[in-house]
C-alpha cells in the first residue's frame, strides 16, 4: 500500500469514528436510574417494590440541618431556605415547622368544616358554640390574644388551627423562633421531599445543586452550615466518590499503559494506532446501544469501557508478531483464526447478560459484544495496512528466549489442576458462610458516621423509616382513602402500645368524599346557626354582629362539593396528599409511611386484615429480588459457558486442545471465587461481571499459548504479546483494586487476580506439548 493510500485510509477511519462519535454524542441520552440494574418485575408484587424503592416519598425525603453559633440566624435561614426551595420547583414538599395557618389558600378556607374531624363528635349548636366562645374570651385575656384575635370573627371555633395542628407530625421536634430545632436547640431542622426519585442520581445531583445555591442565597450568617441526609443525598455522595476515584485511578492507569506500550514497541505511531480499534469499539458500542435502547445508563458506560479494554489486546497481538520481512497483512492472516476464536468466544460469554432480564446488563451486553466485534474486525482488516514496517522483532530478544526456555522446562502438573478443583469445590460447598451478597447497598456503602447522623436526624424529626412502608391499592382514590381511614385506628393502637412511633396516611389530609359529605350534612342551615350563635353570644362580652364572616363561611361550606384529589392542584394540599396518594396507570396507590418500626410482625398483621394492603419491607424485598435475579443470571452464564466451549471446539476441532485452552480459565474462575470467599468477600453482580471479563482474558492467553507453534521465534513473539497484554491489564485492575470503594475494589481484585492466575495456569497447562501432538495439527 502506498504512503498516500495509507494516509487516506487512516484519515477515512478517523473521520468515520469521529462522525459516528459526534452523532452518538448528540443523540445519546445518558440515564442514571439505578433501577435499570434491577430485574424487570415479573409479578405485581415485584412491580410494586420497584416502584416504591425509587418513587416513595420516603426515598425522596431529604433531612436538612442548619447549624451555627447563633440559633436565631439558623432559624431565619431555615425560613428563607424553605421559601426558596418551595419556589425552586425541585421539591414537592418543604417543612420546617412553621405552621401553615396562612399557607392555606383562601379559596379552600371554607373546606375546613369538611376536612376537620371536630364536627364528627359535636354539632355547631348553641351548647358547643357557648363553650367555644367562653374559651375564646379567655384566649383574648391571655398572651395568645394578639395571635388569635384576627381569626376569631371568621373562625370562632378555631377549626383552622385544629386542622393545621392535626397536619403536623404526631411527634414533632421542638419549635424555637417558630421553626423546628433539634433537642439541643442548636440546629434548625427541615424536611424536604424532592421531585426527583431517590434512585435517580442525576436528578438528585441537580436537586443538591439547587439546595446549595438556595442555602448560599438565604444564609443570614457566614458561620452557618447546611447538612443534608437521606437516600437522595447519599446517592449523590456515593456517585461522586465513585466517579472521582474511578477517574483518578483511570488517569493513572492510562499513564501506566502508555509507558508500558512505549517500552514494549518503542514507537509512537504504534502507540497511537493501537488505540484506534479501542476507540472504534467504544463509539460503535455506544451507537448500537443508542439504536436499540434509546438511552444508555451511566453504569453501562463506565463498566462497558472497562470490559472492552480487552480490545486493547488485539492490536498488541498483531504488533508483537510483527517482524522484518513479513508484511503486517500476512502476519495478521496467520493470527486471525486464534484472534477470531478469542473474540467470538468472549462475545458468546457476554451474551449471558443479554438474557439476564436486567435492562442495564442487556445494554452492557450489546455494548461489549458490538465493541469487541468491531475492535477484532478493525484489527484484522484495517490496522494491518497502516502499521509501519517494523525494524524490531520481539523474537530477537535474548531475555524472551531465556524466559521461553525456562518455561519449556516447567512441569506440567495436571494433578495440581485436578487437586485444586477438588479443593476449591469442597471448600465452597462446606463453608457455612453465604457465598453471595444480596444487599445492593453493601457495594457502595455509605460511611457509618453519615448513617449514624441520618438515624439521629430521623429520630429528631420523627421522619419515616426508609425500610418499611404500607401500600394500599385499589381501583379508585375513594376506596384507597377509605382503606387508609380504616387502618388509622389500628395503627394508632400500635403507637399506643409502643410498637410503632408514628405513621402518616393520606386520609389524614384528605378524608373520603363520604366522610366529607357526612360532615357537610351535619352543618346547620343559616337560620338555625344564627339562632344558636345568638343564644351562645348572650352571656359573653363579645359585641353583637362580629361573627358574620363565620356564618358566611359555614353557609359556603354547606354548598361545597366534597374535595377530591383532582381539586387540589396548586394548593398546599396537592403536595401533601400527592406524595401519599398516587394515580398509576389504571389504579390508585395509597402509601402509609411508618416511623420507628419496632414490631414488623404486628404491622404485617394489621396489613393482612385490610384487603389490598401490603406491608413492604424494602430491604428484604430488594434482597429477594437480587437473589432471584442472580439465579437467572447464573443459568444464563452456564448456558453461555457451554456455548463458549462449543465455539472453541469448532475452532480447534480437538478435544484435548479444547481441554487445554479452557482449563486455565475454568480453574481460574473457581480459584478466584474460593479466594474471595476465603477473604470474607461476598459475591455480587459486579463480581460476576468481573469474572466473565477475567475468563475472556484467560481464554485469549490460552488460545495464543496453545497456538504458539514449534517455531521458537514465533513462540517468543507470542510470549511477548501475552506478557504485554497481561501486564497492561494487570496494571489497570491492580490500581482499581486499591480503591476504597467496594464496587471498584471488587472488580479490580477479581480481574487482577484472574490475570495472574490465568497467565500462570496457561503457562503450566496450555503450552503446547512438544513433539508429535503439536506436529499433528
Amino acid at each position: 500500500m502506498t504512503r498516500a493510500r495509507r494516509g487516506l485510509l487512516l484519515v477515512a477511519w478517523i473521520a468515520t469514528v469521529a462522525i459516528l462519535g459526534w452523532i452518538v454524542d448528540r443523540h445519546l441520552v445518558i440515564g442514571t436510574d439505578l433501577r435499570l440494574f434491577m430485574p424487570s418485575p415479573q409479578t405485581p408484587q415485584e412491580r410494586l417494590i420497584l416502584e416504591e424503592i425509587g418513587e416513595s416519598p420516603v426515598s425522596r425525603m431529604l433531612l436538612l440541618a442548619i447549624s451555627g453559633p447563633d440559633p436565631q440566624a439558623a432559624a431565619d435561614t431555615s425560613r428563607a431556605l424553605a421559601a426558596a426551595l418551595r419556589a425552586s420547583g425541585e421539591f414537592r414538599l418543604v417543612a420546617n415547622g412553621a405552621s401553615s395557618l396562612d399557607a392555606i389558600p383562601t379559596s379552600l378556607l371554607a373546606y375546613r368544616y369538611l376536612l376537620s374531624p371536630t364536627l364528627d363528635e359535636v354539632s355547631l349548636d348553641a351548647g358547643f358554640l357557648r363553650m367555644q366562645l367562653a374559651e375564646r374570651v379567655r384566649d383574648l385575656a391571655s398572651p395568645a390574644a394578639g395571635y388569635l384575635e384576627p381569626w376569631l370573627p371568621r373562625d370562632p371555633t378555631l377549626e383552622l388551627l385544629k386542622l393545621a395542628d392535626s397536619w403536623l407530625p404526631a411527634r414533632q421536634p421542638q419549635l424555637i423562633y417558630d421553626v423546628w430545632f433539634d433537642s439541643s436547640g442548636s440546629e434548625a431542622l427541615l424536611v424536604a421531599e424532592t421531585r426527583a426519585a431517590g434512585f435517580d442520581p442525576q436528578g438528585q445531583r441537580r436537586t443538591a445543586d439547587v439546595l446549595q445555591r438556595a442555602f448560599d442565597a438565604s444564609r443570614t450568617d457566614g458561620d452557618l452550615r447546611l447538612e443534608s441526609s437521606g437516600p437522595g443525598a447519599f446517592s449523590v455522595l456515593m456517585q461522586e466518590r465513585t466517579q472521582g476515584e474511578a477517574q483518578w485511578l483511570g488517569s493513572v492507569s492510562v499513564v501506566g499503559m502508555v509507558i508500558l506500550l512505549l517500552a514494549a514497541y518503542r514507537s509512537v505511531p504504534v502507540l497511537v494506532l493501537g488505540l484506534l480499534p479501542l476507540v472504534s469499539a467504544g463509539v460503535a458500542g455506544l451507537a448500537a446501544v443508542g439504536m436499540i435502547f434509546g438511552t444508555v445508563h451511566g453504569i453501562t458506560l463506565g463498566f462497558g469501557f472497562t470490559l472492552i479494554g480487552v480490545a486493547q489486546d488485539y492490536p498488541i497481538h498483531l504488533f508483537s508478531h510483527q517482524h522484518r520481512g513479513v508484511d503486517a497483512r500476512s502476519s495478521v492472516r496467520a493470527l486471525w483464526p486464534t484472534l477470531a476464536t478469542g473474540v467470538a468466544s468472549t462475545c458468546v460469554a457476554y451474551l449471558a447478560f443479554l438474557f439476564s432480564g436486567v435492562r442495564g446488563l442487556a445494554q452492557l451486553s450489546v455494548f461489549t459484544i458490538t465493541g469487541l466485534a468491531v475492535a477484532g474486525l478493525a484489527t484484522r482488516f484495517l490496522l494491518p495496512s497502516l502499521v509501519p514496517d517494523s525494524s524490531r522483532d520481539a523474537a530477537d530478544s535474548a531475555l524472551l528466549g531465556r524466559i521461553w526456555h525456562a518455561i519449556a522446562g516447567l512441569p506440567r502438573p495436571l494433578w495440581l489442576g485436578v487437586a485444586t478443583t477438588i479443593a476449591c469445590v469442597a471448600y465452597l460447598a462446606l463453608s457455612p458462610r453465604a457465598l453471595w451478597e444480596n444487599d445492593l447497598g453493601a457495594l457502595t456503602p455509605v460511611p457509618p458516621a453519615l448513617l449514624a447522623r441520618d438515624a439521629v436526624l430521623r429520630k429528631e424529626l420523627g421522619a419515616p423509616d426508609v425500610r418499611h412502608l404500607l401500600v394500599i391499592e385499589d381501583t379508585d382514590a375513594e376506596s384507597v382513602l377509605a382503606k387508609a381511614a380504616n387502618l388509622d385506628p389500628k395503627l394508632a393502637a400500635l403507637v399506643a402500645r409502643g410498637l410503632l412511633e408514628g405513621y402518616d396516611q393520606p386520609a389524614r389530609y384528605l378524608p373520603t368524599r363520604a366522610v366529607q359529605e357526612q360532615r357537610r350534612a351535619a352543618l346547620p342551615d343559616p337560620a338555625t346557626l344564627r339562632a344558636a350563635l345568638d343564644e351562645a353570644l348572650g352571656m359573653t362580652p363579645f359585641k353583637p354582629g362580629i361573627f358574620e364572616p363565620f356564618l358566611a363561611d359555614v353557609e359556603l361550606a354547606r354548598r361545597l362539593p366534597a374535595l377530591g384529589p383532582s381539586d387540589l392542584k396548586g394548593s398546599v394540599f396537592e403536595s401533601r396528599v400527592g406524595s401519599l396518594l398516587l394515580e398509576r396507570d389504571d389504579h390508585w396507590t395509597g402509601l402509609v409511611t411508618l416511623a420507628g418500626v419496632h414490631d414488623a410482625a404486628a404491622l404485617a398483621q394489621v396489613a393482612a386484615q385490610e384487603p389490598g394492603t401490603t406491608l413492604l419491607d424494602l430491604k428484604q424485598a430488594s434482597e429477594d429480588l437480587v437473589s432471584r435475579q442472580r439465579e437467572r443470571m447464573l443459568w444464563c452464564l452456564a448456558v453461555s459457558g457451554v456455548l463458549l466451549v462449543i465455539v472453541v471446539w469448532v475452532a480447534l476441532r480437538d478435544m484435548s486442545r479444547v481441554r487445554r485452552v479452557v482449563a486455565p480459565m475454568a480453574l481460574t474462575t473457581l480459584v478466584i471465587v474460593a479466594l474471595l470467599h476465603a477473604t470474607g468477600v461476598s459475591l455480587s453482580l459486579f463480581h460476576l461481571i468481573a469474572l466473565v471479563l477475567a475468563a475472556g482474558l484467560g481464554l485469549d492467553y490460552a488460545l495464543f499459548f496453545e497456538r504458539a507453534a514449534e517455531d521458537p521465534a514465533e513462540q517468543r513473539r507470542t510470549l511477548h504479546a501475552v506478557i504485554v497484554c497481561s501486564m497492561s491489564t494487570f496494571l489497570v485492575f491492580a490500581l482499581l483494586a486499591l480503591s476504597t470503594l467496594p464496587v471498584l475494589r471488587a472488580i479490580g481484585i477479581t480481574v487482577a487476580a484472574g490475570v495472574v492466575s490465568n497467565f500462570v495456569l496457561a503457562l503450566l497447562l496450555t503450552r503446547p506439548v512438544p513433539g508429535p501432538t503439536t506436529n499433528g495439527r
Binding site: S99, E135, V137, R138, D139, L140, A141, S142, P143, A144, A145, G146, Y147, E149, L152, P153, Q174, L175, I176, Y177, D178, P541, F542, K543, P544, I546
Partner: protein
C-alpha cells in the same frame, strides 16, 4: 437618643432621667408579684379583667398565673409560649407569632432588670413626670413591631413600677397593674381614662 430629645424636648429640664429611674428600681426584682390585667379588644363590648401572680423562675422563664376568674398558667421561656387552662388543650406557640408579646416581654424584662441596652435595642425611650411619679414611654423601633404595638407606657411611683400599658395600632390594648391583688383595689370603672388617671395617681388629670 433621638426619640428622647424629640418627644421630651419642651419639658426636657423638668423630665426625670431614664437611667436614674431605672437605677432606682430594686435589684434583684422580686421573684413574685401579684397583678391585675385589663384587656381591651374591638371584638368585645366590655374589657376583660383577670388577676393572678407573675413569677420569675431561676431558669429565666416568666410564669403568668391567672387565679381569677379562672385558673390559667402561661409559661414564657425563651422563644416559646405555652398556655395551660383547666379543661382545654395546652396551647403552644412561639413569639414570632405574637410580635406584640415579644415587644412587651422585652420592655417588661428590661425595665425590671434595669437593662438600658435591651430597651434601646427595641424602643425609643423617653421619661416624663417627676422622680416621685414618673412614666417611661417605649416606642417600637422596627417596622414589624410597630405594626402590632404603638407604644408601651410604664407608670411608677418612687422605686416601684405600677402599671404597664400596651397600646396597639388598631385601638386594642391592655393594662397590667402590678402589686395589686384584685380588681377590688382598682377604680370601679374600667374606662381607659379612669385607669390611666389611677396609674398616674391623679397627677395626669
Amino acid at each position: 437618643m433621638i426619640g428622647l430629645t424629640l418627644t421630651a424636648a419642651p419639658l426636657q429640664a423638668a423630665d426625670p432621667d431614664v437611667d436614674t429611674l431605672l437605677a432606682r428600681l430594686p435589684r434583684p426584682a422580686p421573684d413574685s408579684t401579684c397583678f391585675v390585667e385589663i384587656r381591651y379588644s374591638s371584638l368585645l363590648a366590655e374589657p376583660l379583667v383577670v388577676s393572678g401572680r407573675l413569677e420569675h423562675r431561676e431558669d429565666g422563664s416568666l410564669v403568668r398565673r391567672v387565679e381569677w376568674p379562672y385558673q390559667e398558667v402561661t409559661v414564657l421561656q425563651g422563644e416559646s409560649v405555652s398556655i395551660e387552662r383547666a379543661g382545654s388543650k395546652t396551647r403552644r406557640f412561639t413569639l414570632d407569632r405574637a410580635p406584640e408579646l415579644r415587644g412587651m416581654l422585652a420592655g417588661f424584662g428590661a425595665i425590671l432588670q434595669g437593662d438600658r441596652q435591651m430597651l434601646d435595642q427595641y424602643f425609643a425611650v423617653s421619661a416624663q413626670g417627676s422622680d416621685a411619679r414618673w412614666a417611661i414611654t417605649l416606642t417600637p423601633r422596627n417596622d414589624k413591631l410597630k405594626r402590632h404595638l404603638s407604644r408601651i407606657v410604664v407608670d411608677g411611683t418612687e422605686n416601684r413600677p405600677k402599671c404597664f400599658t400596651l397600646e396597639e395600632p388598631d385601638g386594642d390594648g391592655s393594662l397590667m397593674a402590678l402589686g395589686v391583688a384584685g380588681s377590688g383595689d382598682l377604680p370601679a370603672s374600667l374606662d381607659r381614662g379612669v385607669l390611666h388617671a389611677w396609674c398616674t395617681d391623679g397627677d395626669g388629670q
